[in-house]
């Protein structure tokens, strides 16, 4: 059985070493000027350094360029892509077709992963972006396990699926936290309310807490629970999903390191001895549960949930 790539989002260059040791195969990094909702801010030097460390360990580094660009930022794309080519990034993650067009112009051999987060909902569309040049599609979190498996069956591109952590639910271009403060009459100077402020929206009806933060791309709202599929990996691994992702945003390096090592174990055990996986999976789950931060429950996202419309 083929092992999937274990992909994680580090929060700093220092994490690359630690998470590699813990068993990660690949990293997604980037800066908010080009990418969305990153676990850490990696300026060019950091990207370069990360790639150096990772490549020495035979690991891959992908760079996020999946923001929605307005005209003013389109001008910056070519230079950044040329830089990523120079430092030998392993792939660029894009959502906006402006990136795809620019890659064709300046770095035609650069690998592309398609990730808009919410719109990769059927296999045909994954293959469409494949025909346009993407090597991989990152599936929307809002489809269920059967749909994931069916998509993998029909896919002509690699398929990446998030199996752990927080997911994004919402992006507005407006500064919604700042606007609320100004409406209240406080905080009259314009400033962004970033991830470090640990703000969340409380929904009393569902007793849910949705993390919220602002950056140059606007306001982001995140899911109230963390996906945790560590005890449900068998079907995904049987289907030979190409890459499974642990989202590290808004988590400590210690937490991410531990989680990566547990998933590493789960994947290795299952691919070598499936029966043994079924013996240990509840313990693996319990180990994650034990380190969950305040206010973060675990669930299985949409893998076993139906949506209606």
């Amino acid at each position: 059985m083929k092992k999937p790539e274990l992909l994680v989002t580090p929060s700093s260059v220092d994490d690359i070493e630690r998470l590699s040791e813990a068993g990660a195969d690949a990293f997604l990094v980037g800066e908010e000027h080009f990418g969305l909702r990153l676990a850490g801010e990696f300026k060019r030097e950091d990207v370069k350094e990360s790639i150096k460390i990772a490549h020495a360990k035979n690991k891959k580094v992908y760079v996020a360029m999946n923001a929605l660009y307005h005209n003013d930022r389109v001008e910056d794309l070519a230079d950044y892509i040329a830089f990523l080519q120079l430092v030998e990034a392993d792939a660029i993650v894009f959502g906006d077709p402006a990136v795809l067009m620019t890659v064709k112009e300046v770095a035609p051999n650069m690998k592309l992963h398609w990730n808009t987060e919410t719109t990769a909902t059927n296999w045909y569309t994954c293959n469409y972006w494949g025909r346009k040049g993407a090597k991989r599609a990152v599936l929307a979190r809002e489809i269920n396990l059967d749909a994931v498996l069916e998509t993998k069956e029909h896919a002509e591109v690699e398929i990446e699926v998030q199996i752990h952590g927080m997911t994004s639910m919402f992006q507005s271009k407006r500064m919604l936290i700042g606007n609320y403060y100004r409406y209240q009459g406080k905080n009259l100077k314009i400033e962004r309310h970033g991830k470090e402020e640990a703000l969340y929206l409380y929904d009393p009806e569902r007793d849910n807490r949705y993390p919220i933060f602002e950056d140059v791309n606007g306001t982001h709202i995140m899911s109230p629970n963390d996906i945790c599929m560590i005890d449900e990996l068998d079907e995904l691994l049987d289907a030979e999903i190409d890459s499974v992702k642990i989202e590290g945003i808004l988590k400590s390096p210690d937490y991410n390191e531990k989680v990566v090592s547990l998933y590493r174990k789960a994947i290795d055990v299952y691919t070598e001895n499936p029966d043994e996986y079924f013996n240990i999976k509840d313990n693996l789950y319990a180990e994650i549960e034990a380190i969950q931060p305040k206010n973060r429950k675990l669930d299985t996202g949409f893998f076993f949930k139906e949506t209606v419309y």
Binding site: N71, R73, D96, M169, F170, N179
Partner: protein, 426 residues
């Protein structure tokens, strides 16, 4: 690339030669006909499948055909929205559906998902394909991509400004459509799954339950599990909400025409015929007046007031005129009281007696302040006089929905003119 010539000089006076298409929504045949009669150049409708707004009234193929035939008499076009992001399970029946739409004589479809774009090009090539705002296209290079993919028109993200749209028009030669009026998402379209998470309803397949407009408590988390989290509001503050004011670009229409935007779009397939008629007729007047004499044009106060008569939320120009601040959101009470209600639809008018036949749409009675408007009259107001039922008996009020009544009116009216009643709030 320069923006093509928008105006020319005729008899010593500048006139606009490139008039944008005025595109209106319609949730059913009645609304479609009203939109066309009141001046829409094109109308977009939803079919029974593959469109967002799963709870709006939607058109059967037969109704589409009837709509197309009606619109054709006025030189108007019909587009069908098929703008869901399909899941695997939604793929069945797509080909037959697109062929049926094409057969019905529809001009084009409005699409977000490449699955539907490519299927349409393959099985229903006579249909124009317009890229939906659900794709959130925000820059010229993305527009260029979709043009090269063979799309006939791109509907831009509502987050684009005047300056940005101008640059897009300068860079790419493809039809651009932009929203001018109506409700909107506070997120980038297609990038919100709040409903999915909160109520298991898929917003990108039309199931959105507007979770963004609910009230929330903005809290700050403390690191220590033993300390409670901190509320970021005080007792007297309204709760955190993300309810945007509705879009209203009446004042920006001249600028939009000047940069050559090809189509100006009104939102609202769920809105009433009164709403559609009011909004379409006002924008019709604005566009026509500006195009006829751009150098002496002014937005009339009566047009602005007229738009206000069908608004149940406050309005603002949003991103077209810069980045919207807190004044363009609503906290606490999200709706506003309307001062007018749609009271009746004119069916007939007797020039001899000056008596109109009216279909009741809301309660009215003698003494009420009412006003009439329509595409072929100057709006006027009067006080309602004696009302008779259809057998000629005097009645004290028109109380029954769709009841046919007669009443004397001060000026000539025509079928499909509308009557509103002014509401008096204590």
């Amino acid at each position: 690339m320069a923006i093509e010539n928008i105006s020319t000089v005729k008899d010593g006076k500048r006139v606009i030669v490139k008039k944008p298409e005025l595109l209106a929504p319609a949730g059913n045949l009645e609304k479609l006909k009203i939109a066309v009669r009141y001046g829409a150049d094109a109308v977009y409708i939803g079919g029974q499948e593959f469109g967002l707004r799963s709870n709006a009234d939607n058109f059967s193929i037969e109704e589409m055909r009837e709509g197309v035939e009606f619109a054709r008499q006025y030189g108007a076009k019909i587009y069908v929205t098929t703008n869901i992001y399909a899941h695997n399970e939604n793929m069945d029946g797509l080909e037959e559906y697109l062929q049926a739409i094409e057969d019905a004589g529809v001009t084009g479809i409005i699409v977000a998902d490449p699955l539907i774009i490519e299927t349409c090009k393959r099985v229903a090539p006579r249909l124009e394909v317009h890229l939906s705002t659900q794709q959130s296209v925000t820059n010229w290079k993305a527009v260029q991509f979709w043009k090269e993919e063979g799309l006939d028109r791109v509907v831009l993200a509502r987050e684009t400004s005047h300056e940005e749209i101008k640059q897009i028009k300068e860079h790419v030669d493809v039809e651009i459509e932009s929203f001018i009026h109506g409700a909107m998402c506070i997120s980038y379209s297609g990038r919100c799954v709040l409903s999915n998470h909160m109520t298991a309803r898929d917003s990108n397949r039309g199931g959105c339950c507007q979770s963004c407009r609910w009230d929330y408590d903005l809290m700050k988390q403390t690191d220590d599990a033993n300390y409670p989290d901190i509320p970021m509001f005080s007792e007297q503050d309204a709760p955190f909400a993300m309810s945007p004011k509705d879009l209203n670009l009446i004042l920006s229409i001249p600028k939009m025409i000047d940069i050559g935007i090809d189509c100006l779009k009104i939102e609202g397939r769920m809105k009433s015929i009164h709403y559609v008629a009011t909004v379409v007729s006002v924008y019709r007047k604005v566009i026509d007046a500006y195009c006829e004499d751009p150098d002496h044009f002014e937005v009339k106060k009566e047009w602005i007031d007229e738009l206000d008569k069908c608004a149940n939320r406050d309005t603002a120009p949003a991103f077209y005129e810069g980045t919207p601040g807190y004044q363009e959101q609503m906290y606490g009470n999200h709706s506003k009281k309307t001062n007018y209600v749609f009271a009746g639809l004119v069916l007939d008018y007797d020039t001899q007696t000056g008596i109109a036949t009216i279909q009741q749409r809301n309660h009215f009675k003698p003494g009420d302040k009412i006003e009439f408007f329509g595409p072929d009259i100057q709006g006027f107001s009067q006080t309602a006089g004696t009302i008779w039922d259809d057998s000629g008996n005097e009645i004290d009020a028109a109380r029954h929905p769709l009841q046919i009544v007669k009443m004397k009116v001060d000026q000539q009216v025509f079928p499909y003119n509308m009557m509103r009643k002014e509401l008096k709030w204590q």
